[in-house]
Amino acid sequence: MAAIVLLVALIVVIFGYKFYAATIDRDVVQANPKKATPAVMYNDGVDFMPASGSVLFGYQFKSIAALGPIVGPIVAVQWGWLPAFLWLMLGVVFIGWVQDYAAAMMAMRNEGLTMGGLAYKFISPRARGILLSFLYFYLLLIMGAFGAVVAGLLANPVVPIGLLILTLAGVLAGQMTYRWKMDLVMTTIVTVFIALVGIWIGTTTPAQHIVQWINGLAGTGPKHVLYQTPYGPMTWPVFFWGIVALAFCYLGSVLAIWRFAQPVNYVSFWFVALGLVGSVLGVFIAAIFHTTDVAFKIPAFVTWNQPKLGWLWPMLFVTISCGAISGWHSLVSTAGTARQLEKETDALPVGAGAMFTEAILATLAVIFAATALTKGDTVIYDAQNLYALKMGAGGVWMYGMSRFLSWIPGISPAMGGAIGAIFLAVMALTVMQLVLRFMRVASAELVGDKIPAFKNPHVGTIVAILFTFLILWTAFWQRIWVLFGGANQLFAGLALLLITIWLANEGKKHNWAFWPAVFMYATTVAALLVVAWKSFKAMMAPNTAVAFAIGNAVAGLIGFFLALAAIVLAVDGLKSLAKARAKAAAHAGD
């Protein structure tokens, strides 16, 4: 079944790319390979630098693929694997590639403006201000959602030592490349080898004992419970490793980028590549040679209403974001990719191609989830309770990697699981560092004049970290995930609305962007209001501790604010769209 699902996904994305995306690119947007792009025209060596299509494809894929295509599907199969898979396929073919590709084209044809500038130009100055404040809270939710997953991952005894050694190998790589000016191939071989040995060390019994000793330093009972939350116990390991994860992000945010963030990212890329290629091949090898059980254990359809998550509509569509459609990608496409495209015709393979490839990664996550009901005696999805997820999504991914990577000689299931965990942790931490860096800059820009302390990079970073802790330690992580998903998808709706207005201004057909925008708006505003209401309800539940009341209040207010900001933007956007359509109609009449 797993191999069939993966094969169907490959066929769908190929057809979607070749027959739908390519047609729009050729006949509607009319990409012109001879037209000069901003990267070629300006080429200032700082913001605008041309790069080839293949290089940009790799860059775009690496920038957009984070936790979204992995955690989202693992959570979403609680409604059944089929709804999750269908949303991935239909979403990516009709909505996802549209946003990624068209955002890059729109930015490229408007002098490389980013989302704020485009909102200012096509909607209104007010739209830009609302978009930027929306962005701040959206990024805060990324910190909370990703931080919760990473803290859970690091609490597993096989993970932290390996990640620590990988981090040190990364710092060494930075030193070797930038200070000692050593050859990159030699640096890669040395540091990746050190990291590989480090990951193996992390799986050994003495290393696990060290982590278990740390995990046992506080808390009561066998799980080291620190305090109870309305959603289950907060354990000392998750509490402690959450601090460690955020300390890691703090370093990535304040240190020079070449010293920490970039080289650590570089070394960990090799494990991400190993994990991706190895597990895709592993699914087919398992299907042919029965090296592991690939039968789907979760039913195709479970329920319309999962008690902890809500109704399939609108919640499924915000639980799975990346892989189907994600607003984060519009930020990458406009701020990064559009300023590097050498020719217009590269936008399709880069923007659309990377998005379709991400859908395959998300399908892999569906397969990992659907083939794993239990892990030994541990229940992953509770068949007696509507297949509710009982383990962290990171743990499910680790288990999948341990099964599907172990066909490679020399990689034991424990090592495969550790690679899977580090794969996930690094992808999350990379984005979290970038987000924290942005939030530091945003705090200085938005608030720095009124509160000069925020101009200090450490202050802005620490404030963002404290907000993250508040969400991390007091709110239910699946709710944070859905709130993050809602914000993310709403950003996608905004991007699609901007794209629609741009196309209308150009006098081009725009329904292929307009109706996806309408769907995303309606679905995500509904989802955000549902989550906000649930958070407020949890806040007001009797005997709720003050900390949880505050955490839920913060989550609820953020959800409500995001929905409100989106509605105001939509009103302004639709006015601009009406003007653009009227202008186009007048021109057509001439």
């Binding site: 300006y42 080429n43 200032d44 060596g45 700082v46 913001d47 630098m49 790069a51 080839s52 293949s54 290089v55 940009l56 494809f57 790799g58 860059y59 775009q60 894929f61 690496k62 920038s63 403006l113 980013t114 989302m115 704020g116 500038g117 200012y120 830009r128 930027l132 962005l135 490349t177 930038y178 990159l184 980028i257 070449w258 970039q262 080289p263 990212n265 570089y266 890329f269 090799w270 590549a273 930020l331 990458v332 406009t334 701020a335 990064g336 300023r339 590097q340 970038l434 860096r437 942005f438 800059v441 945003a442 820009e445 938005l446």
Partner: protein, 92 residues
């Protein structure tokens, strides 16, 4: 397809795979290094030739001796210095 065409196609494919791996692994690092260098160059031009942008830095004799080397970059430098920035540029 002739043997030569097949070899050419294979070479192109291998080159594309190499480029994709470079894009995923190292392009960001290379870009950051180039951006840092570019920023420092532009800062140097601002300090020595700021008068060209209306900043009251009158270039002394020694700065003017650098002018021939700076001339090819002046238009891109000016454009970058005067370009309106947005907060979302920080994500680039």
């Amino acid at each position: 397809m002739t043997e030569e065409e097949k070899r050419g196609l294979l070479t192109k494919m291998l080159q594309s795979i190499q480029d994709v791996i470079y894009g995923m692994a190292s392009h960001d690092m290379a870009r950051q290094a180039l951006k840092t260098r570019g920023s420092m160059e532009h800062l140097f031009i601002l300090i020595t030739m700021g008068d060209l942008l209306g900043v009251p830095i009158l270039p002394p004799y020694y700065s003017l001796r650098l002018l021939p080397y700076v001339v090819p970059q002046i238009s891109t430098w000016k454009r970058r210095m005067l370009r309106e920035r947005d907060l979302t540029d920080a994500l680039a």
